[in-house]
């Protein structure tokens, strides 16, 4: 009896350990498995795929630009242009005809399918029919070869350079140049450009946001009303800061990123967010991209911060909990109040996010070492209207 009991206890110990392991595994798995969100909860990207250089097919894993074209993704890297299509990578380096190794911006013409490639120090290239055509400050109206941003609106390619903006009419071949001489540019370092619905927005480093109206052919400047570098006098009186890094125009709403926070302008009202009053883990935003007029994704030096729902000020911020954490954590909150966290399987080694792009329901992010795709299975915009799951747990 005693022997038998001991035997059962002995055999029960591994079983108990096994059960604990299974339970622990199930708990972790439950956290990274897509499940219906409770009512009023934002969508969280829990499952991610990662891509690095060479072994994964990328020519280089220092990612500078991401542009989706339907099911295809164009990637600009420090050493080449890459295309991801049907789970296969193709790439072009200088030896393949790419005029310059550093690809800093990419835009695809909806009308022609041409791919316009901004080259950091190498000007601009048109990739069409398998051939690269090269435009630079010596052979064209491109105002400078240091190109940071490219956007296509109808027949016009807009190029943001370190010495102003250039616009190429692809039908007539004519160039227009905008600098401090003919545009309200307090600085000429144009960092980013976005275009849509008859508007072109240029983010000027030290010059705010410039808005070009295609119909009236006039510039309008948005600047920080307090005109001071070291403060923001009022939160919602205008652009947070004059050092802007990107502009994104969607649903007639302008999202503008700065190195001091995020701004939103609906044509009448401004709203600003900073790290102390929102889900932004850092004010240092490299680029922001609006998914709609009420949702914006910010690529910061400390992960990705997502304003999921403007009306409720709901945020999801992705970053590592500790320096040595193996994967990133999603922090879900309202304003700057964190409500709960969700473990993800994103394993990119650093937080410095330089590029981001939407592709259907998926989210791509590019860093200084690696590219990742958040798989948007069951994605929804805004907040979930689903019934609360009984297994949904608050807190960690």
């Amino acid at each position: 009896m005693t022997s038998s009991s001991t035997s059962r206890r002995c055999s029960a110990i591994p079983a108990l350990v096994f059960a604990i392991l299974v339970l622990a595994t199930w708990t972790v798995a439950a956290q990274v498995t897509e499940k219906p969100a409770a009512a009023g909860e934002p969508y969280v990207y829990t499952h991610w795929e990662t891509f690095y250089a060479e072994e994964d097919g990328l020519p280089n894993d220092h990612i500078f630009a991401l542009t989706a074209d339907g099911d295809r993704l164009w990637v600009g890297t420090e050493d080449g242009l890459a295309l991801y299509e049907d789970k296969t990578w193709r790439s072009w380096r200088e030896k393949d005809g790419l005029p310059w190794r550093v690809v800093s911006a990419i835009a695809v013409s909806e009308k022609t399918g041409d791919v316009w490639v901004g080259l950091l120090g190498g000007g601009l290239a048109r990739f069409s029919g398998g051939r690269f055509d090269h435009f630079n400050q010596f052979n064209s109206g491109l105002v400078n070869d240091v190109v940071y941003g490219v956007a296509v609106l109808d027949d016009t390619v807009w190029v943001a350079t370190t010495a102003g903006m250039s616009a190429l009419n692809t039908v007539t071949g004519e160039w227009e140049i905008y600098t401090e001489k003919n545009a309200p540019m307090e600085e000429i370092w144009c960092y980013n450009v976005d275009a849509g619905d008859g508007k072109v927005y240029a983010a000027v480093w030290g010059g705010g946001i410039l808005e070009w109206d295609v119909e009236t052919r006039r510039w309008n400047a948005h600047r920080d009303p307090d005109r001071e570098m070291e403060i923001d006098l009022y939160r919602d009186d205008g652009l947070i800061h004059i050092i802007t890094t990107s502009a994104s125009y969607v649903d007639e709403v302008l999202w503008a990123s700065t190195y001091f926070g995020l701004s939103r302008y609906d044509g009448r009202h401004w709203r600003g967010w900073m790290d102390h009053d929102s889900g932004l883990a850092s004010n240092f935003i490299n680029i922001a991209k609006g998914r709609s007029g009420t949702s914006c994704y910010s690529a910061t030096d400390y992960g990705v911060a997502v304003l999921s729902d403007f009306a409720t000020d709901t945020w999801v911020s992705y970053r590592r909990e500790t320096e040595d954490a193996e994967t990133w954590t999603a922090y879900i909150g309202t304003g700057n109040e964190e409500r709960r966290t969700v473990v993800t399987d994103l394993s990119l080694p650093n937080h410095f996010v330089i590029a981001l792009e939407f592709q259907g329901d998926d989210l791509w992010i590019g860093t200084g070492h690696g590219l990742a795709r958040g798989v948007g299975k069951g994605f929804f915009e805004g907040l979930s209207k689903a019934e609360a799951s009984p297994r949904e747990e608050e807190g960690q």
Binding site: G141, N144, E230, L233, T367
Partner: protein
């Protein structure tokens, strides 16, 4: 528009700054309290200081580098630090505009 073939000048100037790592170098003092204004700005020069408190004051904490390579430990002993400068040191000419691009 006439585009004249000209050349833009760019230069990289590398300075070498010698920093002594000897015992005579004093440790940088740590502030006893968090700064409340940028750069110890005198009260009378604080922007809008006579009017109101700003919603946010920037530059009170140094930015951290969070990019790739952060995990690489700081060197234990540094004798020299090379500081690079990238930019025009003389007026440059914009080919596209046919004029000076940085006046």
């Amino acid at each position: 528009m006439t585009v004249k073939p000209c050349f833009a000048a760019a230069a990289i100037v590398v300075f070498a700054m010698v920093a002594s790592a000897g015992d005579e170098v004093a440790t940088t003092p740590t502030p006893e309290a968090e700064p409340t204004v940028y750069g110890d700005t005198p009260e009378e020069l604080v922007p809008y200081g006579r009017f109101t408190e700003p919603y946010k004051t920037f530059f009170l904490e140094p930015n951290q580098y969070r990019g790739y390579g952060r995990h690489i430990p700081e060197p234990e002993h540094v004798d020299t630090v090379k500081i690079g400068f990238l930019g025009p040191i003389e007026a440059t000419v914009s080919v596209a505009t046919g004029g000076a691009s940085h006046e």
